[in-house]
Homo-oligomer: 369 residues x 2
């Protein structure tokens, strides 16, 4: 049993949290990014006739959506249904979501003259009060599960400053990130100021989530993989590192660091000492071991990942073999640094449910030492 | 002097080719991907009122465009102006280019039933006769340069089977490659058949380019970096490896292998034994050295790369420091395995000419041992 305590420390810690702490668990825990989403018919049912914003900002609807994958699959983690851009909206940036395009920011922060649009005095308890309420409601729901039920962990999250800054500069998602890198390389001072403000916002935002009952929080640096290692070390890592440090000073609950497309950034990610590294499908276990060893972090840091989410578009045999391969590759981390099964990126909208079930079955029947 | 011979072996081999062969050169040679393109005013002048297809299929126009970066910057390599999809059009796939969207294939090859649309009997000398003519004209132009002129190398190229197959399956460019991976993981046999046919096509296509006078040819596997190492080894590497082997049996002229976003694929790329590895900006020199050493390829394989092309959107100081960093990182390859400066991906359309000049000046003034 871990020495960590939570407000519910009279109960056993969730299996997911025990695995993150490097404890041996009876089987490999599993949750997966974007598990509450469009591949679920019950999600589409609730989404019908509603905007994404209505769904994510209405506490009872967001709670229901968050619970859907737990109800259907009994996943080991429940992640709050929200978007990484939610706190930007709370800090003064108007935005909406378009069906095929994704998020569209109605106000960019593309240079120094636009900095004031992102309010400095962002107060997460007020400006994103619904997020606190979603987490508290989910907390209460989990705590009220009948005794003997395997308790899922409650997960909060936030976007990393680099990724959030890229949305603010581009005004939405991007394919080539020309404006982002234009700002990074051409207006470095502005980009650092913006990242600094976002860092302070995200520290407050994640502390609020811990206070509202999250068992762990994940930082999503979805786009930082577009940077070379040297540029990542200059423009992205210092900010996520500050968030990790501030959170881990605030709470013993684990902080998970996810960087998309980051096979080349392992050393720089490990140096930030998050409790858990969340890895995309490009990363191989031996490289993780080598870099952790070099940093003195082996057997002290957990990993989460890393099946290619698009494997779920394949045959059942392909799903089984891909999940087994991931489990075998990372078996050495289970009960040592810690290992939790996940996808390498969010699940895609057309993933067939039977394939998702096959993935879950493969993970659950995988023998642990 | 190299022991390689070319049809012009009475003249000295171009500096670029000598660097690819691992010979010491008086300075670091440079060319860069998409060097003939929209960042050049003289390109836009010629492009005005013409479709991309007209520009690339009219021999005299394509020759003129190919020469533009040489005339302006005296780059060390002239790459023929063409598109990786050109041979697909030659093999029966109608396509056109849209201004913002890029290439659109009017006929996909998304499953077995559509395989026949990609003709098996592709004959590059007939079906892409204009490509042979572009190369022959460029060859004659280079050979006719006044004595004493530093002779640029003539470069041909082809898309890799995985990347071409992704265009055929998706019907164009993609952001998430859902259809491609759906085919890879869900219809593996079809995907292998398609890749096999494309491999035969590209071997013929590149041999034709060698015959037409190319000093070196580059294989572009722009999208294979979306695959995990195991999936790359199963679905992409066997095909580029066949092309490399067939070409290197056919000619001593170097084959360059470029895989986009490939920091996680170095081992698998090196195992294919191309003469030159072309690296994107995520890759670090020590990782390349380690993997080459492990494969017994160190000092036998050249590298090309790898400045982030979007650095060119930055300040002149940033361009200088980024180019210097790349030169310093790869200095150990010069005069041993071989090193040629390049970008990590194609130059972007809004790159300011003065920054391009700064990059060239930085490379040319960098002291070599």
């Amino acid at each position: 049993m871990s020495s960590q305590t939570t407000p519910n420390d009279n109960q056993a810690l969730p299996m997911l949290i025990r695995a993150f702490a490097g404890e041996a668990t009876p089987r490999t825990p599993i949750w997966y990014m974007r598990q509450a989403g469009r591949y679920l018919p019950e999600y589409n049912e609730l989404r019908r006739g509603r905007s994404f914003l209505e769904l994510s900002e209405t506490v009872e609807l967001a709670v229901e959506v968050s619970l859907q994958p737990f109800r259907r699959f009994a996943v080991d983690g429940i992640i709050m249904f929200s978007d990484i851009l939610t706190p930007l909206k709370g800090a003064g940036i108007p935005l909406h979501f378009e069906e095929k395009k994704g998020p569209v920011l109605d106000q960019t922060v593309a240079d120094e003259s636009e900095m004031h649009h992102l309010r400095e005095d962002f107060d997460p308890g007020v400006d994103t009060a619904h997020v606190a309420d979603i987490l508290k409601t989910l907390r209460a729901h989990i705590d009220a599960l009948p005794a003997g039920t395997e308790r899922p962990a409650l997960l909060g999250f936030a976007g990393a400053p680099f990724t959030l800054a890229s949305y603010l500069v581009e005004g939405g998602t991007s394919k080539k990130f020309e404006k982002t890198k234009g700002a990074v390389f051409g207006a470095s001072e502005f980009f650092h100021s913006l990242s600094d403000r976002l860092t302070e916002h995200m520290i407050r935002y994640l502390k609020m989530q811990i206070d509202a009952g999250a068992d762990a929080v994940q930082i999503f640096d979805s786009w930082a993989g577009i940077l070379s290692p040297a540029d990542y070390a200059e423009f992205a890592a210092p900010y996520t590192q500050r968030i990790v440090a501030a959170l881990q000073e605030y709470t013993p609950r684990p902080v998970i660091l996810f960087v998309g497309n980051s096979a080349h950034l392992l050393k720089e990610m490990i140096a930030q000492q998050p409790r858990v590294l969340s890895l995309d499908w490009r990363v191989q276990a031996p490289a993780v071991e080598r870099e952790m060893e070099a940093a003195g972090a082996l057997n002290k840091m957990a990993v989460q990942g890393n099946m290619d989410p698009l494997t779920l578009y394949g045959t059942p045999e392909r799903v089984r073999s891909a999940a087994s391969r991931v489990l075998e590759n990372f078996a050495g981390f289970a009960g040592r640094g810690g290992y939790v099964f996940n996808l390498g990126h969010g699940i895609h909208p057309s993933s067939p449910i039977p394939n998702v079930q096959t993935m879950l079955d493969t993970v659950r029947s995988f023998p642990v030492k």
